[in-house]
């Protein structure tokens, strides 16, 4: 586990503080399944997004003024007067979208390959907590420019808590710091928006600690049985992750430089006005599926419960999924239903962007029903009744048999190998 070096300074430090061996252990020699496909790039990409958001955010905070009468103008000051302020702000605003895009792909990858199953339950839990904190952080960040959508989004979302019986209204007033969304709300959101990303950093550390305990899952979903199944993280996955990062950066730059407001809402370039309500109040795209679930339920309180349940149900996943096989590659029925779930989530996003009436309401209700049906009913049942295809003996054997090409990609066909 120690580190081989002749450098006396490194030795001196290492003897007192084992940073070099720790880094070596977790980033260089770290044994990684040799068959990870490109869907496994999104974890490190999410980490990059977090760092980008923190760096741009810290610089933006140097120029921004969290006051109800100055926030909007100080945002425009950043866009117009601060050197490359437009670049910082567009990276930060689009970076939030990129972060969610990457994390959603990361989560669906976990769902497909069964990465939440024994012994990775706590790894999965930490991921969900990170997602929840990301949502809170992104929501509060969206309030800071103090545009119309900032203000009314904050009003709608904080008002959800008023659905709680008896203590709802006091809770909402406590969140607001007053009797309406106002300067006190803005100040505390700013403070928390600065704080929570560092909490996320801490949770990411724990997420990695849990990951490194039992190592990465892989597209075959079978355990690492020995050194023949793994390769060191460096140079193999550093090279692969860097290539993925390059592709991601091109997409990111495309938005920042050529369509910086495509994912935003025009109303947020109108200063907040408590007396004028926008025709349609919509959150950012990454919260739309949850917004759709909220509005699919005719009762306010039950709608709020359903919305929170849609995330909290993920905590139960390791036990709701009764199948002992991790990877959907070997689960013919689950695989089909998985894609239905993905379609259902996209449909919910589309519904959330539109007013809750007519066809949107119908689709929203069907998709909401399917969403909960998937986790609460289909997952346990499929696990019991499905007959999984035979699993390969080991990762190494599978790679050797498929030979050439990508390391045992997701669709490696194991038939005929009993």
């Amino acid at each position: 586990m120690g580190i081989q070096t002749n450098n006396s300074i490194v030795k001196w430090i290492e003897y007192r503080l084992p940073v070099f061996s720790t880094l070596n252990h977790s980033l260089i020699d770290y044994p990684t399944p040799r068959n990870l496909n490109y869907w496994y790039n999104f974890g490190s990409l999410a980490g990059v997004c977090l760092v980008v958001q923190i760096i741009t955010g810290i610089v933006l905070a140097m120029h921004y003024t969290p006051h109800a009468s100055m926030a909007f103008d100080s945002t425009e000051h950043i866009m117009r007067d601060v050197n490359y302020g437009w670049l910082l702000r567009y990276i930060h605003a689009n970076g939030a979208s990129m972060f969610f895009l990457v994390v959603y792909i990361h989560i669906f990858r976990g769902l497909y390959y069964g990465s939440y199953k024994m012994p990775r339950e706590l790894l999965w839990w930490l991921g969900i907590v990170i997602l929840l904190l990301m949502m809170a952080t992104a929501f509060m960040g969206y309030v800071l420019p103090w545009g119309q959508m900032s203000f009314w989004g904050a009003t709608v979302i904080t008002n959800l808590f008023s659905a709680i019986p008896l203590v709802g209204t006091p809770i909402v007033e406590w969140l607001w710091g007053g009797f309406a969304v106002g300067n006190a709300t803005l100040s505390r959101f700013y403070s928390l928006h600065y704080l929570l990303p560092f909490v996320i950093v801490g949770l990411v550390m724990l997420h990695l600690l849990a990951l490194h305990q039992h190592k990465s899952n892989n597209p075959l979903g079978i355990d690492i049985k020995g050194p023949q199944d793994t390769i060191p993280f460096h140079p193999y996955y550093t090279a692969k992750d860097l290539f993925g990062l390059g592709v991601f950066a091109i997409v990111f730059a495309g938005f920042v430089f050529f369509a910086p407001n495509y994912l935003g809402h025009p109303d947020n370039y109108i200063e907040a006005n408590p007396l004028v309500t926008p025709a349609h109040i919509v959150p950012e795209w990454y919260l739309l599926p949850f917004y759709a679930i909220l509005r699919s339920i005719p009762d306010k309180f039950l709608g709020v419960v359903a919305m929170f349940a849609s995330i909290f149900v993920l905590f139960l996943l390791p036990w709701l999924d009764t199948s002992r096989v991790r990877s959907a590659t070997f689960r013919p029925i689950y695989k089909q239903v998985f894609w239905l779930l993905l379609i259902c989530c996209v449909a919910l996003g589309w519904v959330g962007a539109n007013p809750p009436e007519g066809i949107y309401l119908v689709v929203g209700r069907i998709a909401t029903t399917f969403y909960f049906l998937f986790f609460l009913v289909l997952m346990p049942l499929i696990g019991w009744f499905e007959r999984p295809r035979p699993l390969p003996e080991s990762i190494g054997a599978s790679v050797a048999k498929t030979g050439g090409g990508a390391p045992a990609d997701a669709h490696a066909k194991p038939e005929g190998r009993v």
């Binding site: 040799r34 103008d73 425009e76 866009m79 117009r80 437009w86 670049l87 567009y90 390769i231 140079p235 193999y236 090279a239 692969k240 860097l242 290539f243 990062l245 390059g246 592709v247 950066a249 091109i250 730059a253 495309g254 920042v256 430089f257 050529f258 910086p260 407001n261 495509y262 994912l263 025009p266 109303d267 370039y269 109108i270 025709a279 919509v282 795209w285 589309w350 962007a353 539109n354 007519g358 066809i359 030979g403 050439g404 090409g405 390391p407």
Partner: protein, 251 residues
């Protein structure tokens, strides 16, 4: 979410009865010279558009995020900017006697808004509030196309539409009734470059100017974007080659 909006629109249109008198006409899609990944502002149109803003729009609409010094960027030299800024009086102070005073504008001042506050603006405009135009092309769905459509979209109302007192008919405006009377009239301004000041021409020019006012960084952004993307394409190509080389022995 523009594709979704378009889809929603199709559904709304297919819905038939949904298209009541209150619905709006979708804005014209305009092919601006400053659109697309390489588009740049038409400098002559920017300067003409500034004149239209100054002589027509500025009577009611502010442009408070823009400073007079920014006019440098659309081709006015420093001396011209000083003269333009000095045309308005701005309040400053307090002075050594503790009193506020008026002085001629300086290039560092932001555009002076025509009204002291929203209440004054409403009082002078039949209860309607003329919005500040600094961000108008970013703050409306349809962007510049919407502004251009609105400015050129005034019509006589159809027989079944009853206009409220002091309102004008404009199918592009939400509700189709707008408190702003048709702002552009043939020959309302006289362009120094001899361009004929038709309504469409003035609408085109002032929309170009407002697009610049909303996104003064646009040209620098696109220029940088082209360089960044080209760099990333090369870098990513190299990284792909590295990845192939590193993994060659594993396969």
């Amino acid at each position: 979410m523009r594709p979704i909006a378009a889809l929603a629109l199709c559904l709304a249109l297919a819905g038939g009865p949904a298209l009541a008198a209150g619905d709006t006409t979708p804005p014209k899609s305009v092919d601006w010279p400053h659109g697309g990944p390489f588009g740049t502002f038409d400098r002559a149109a920017l300067q003409r558009g500034f004149l239209v803003y100054k002589q027509v729009c500025a009577a009611c609409h502010g442009l408070r995020q823009v400073a007079y010094r920014n006019l440098n960027e659309i081709g006015f030299n420093e001396a011209q900017v000083k003269v333009l800024a000095a045309e308005v009086e701005v309040q400053d102070g307090p002075n050594d006697q503790g009193e506020m005073f008026n002085r001629p504008g300086r290039p560092s001042d932001r555009f002076r808004s025509p009204f002291a506050n929203p209440q004054a603006a409403r009082a002078a405009n039949n209860g309607a509030l003329p919005p500040d135009l600094s961000l108008i092309t970013k703050a409306r769905a349809g962007g510049g196309g919407y502004i251009y459509s609105l400015l050129t979209g005034y019509r006589n109302p159809p027989a079944e539409v009853k206009l409220a007192e002091g309102m004008s008919y404009n199918p592009y405006f939400a509700g189709r009734q707008i408190a702003m009377a048709p702002p552009l009239n043939e020959g309302a301004v006289e362009f120094a470059d001899g361009t004929k000041a038709g309504v469409e021409q003035m609408a085109w020019d002032v929309t170009t100017f407002l697009a610049w006012a909303a996104e003064p960084e646009m040209e620098a952004r696109k220029r940088m974007g082209v360089k960044v993307i080209l760099f990333l394409l090369v870098l990513t190509g190299v990284l792909y080659a590295v990845k192939r080389k590193v993994w060659a022995e594993v396969h």
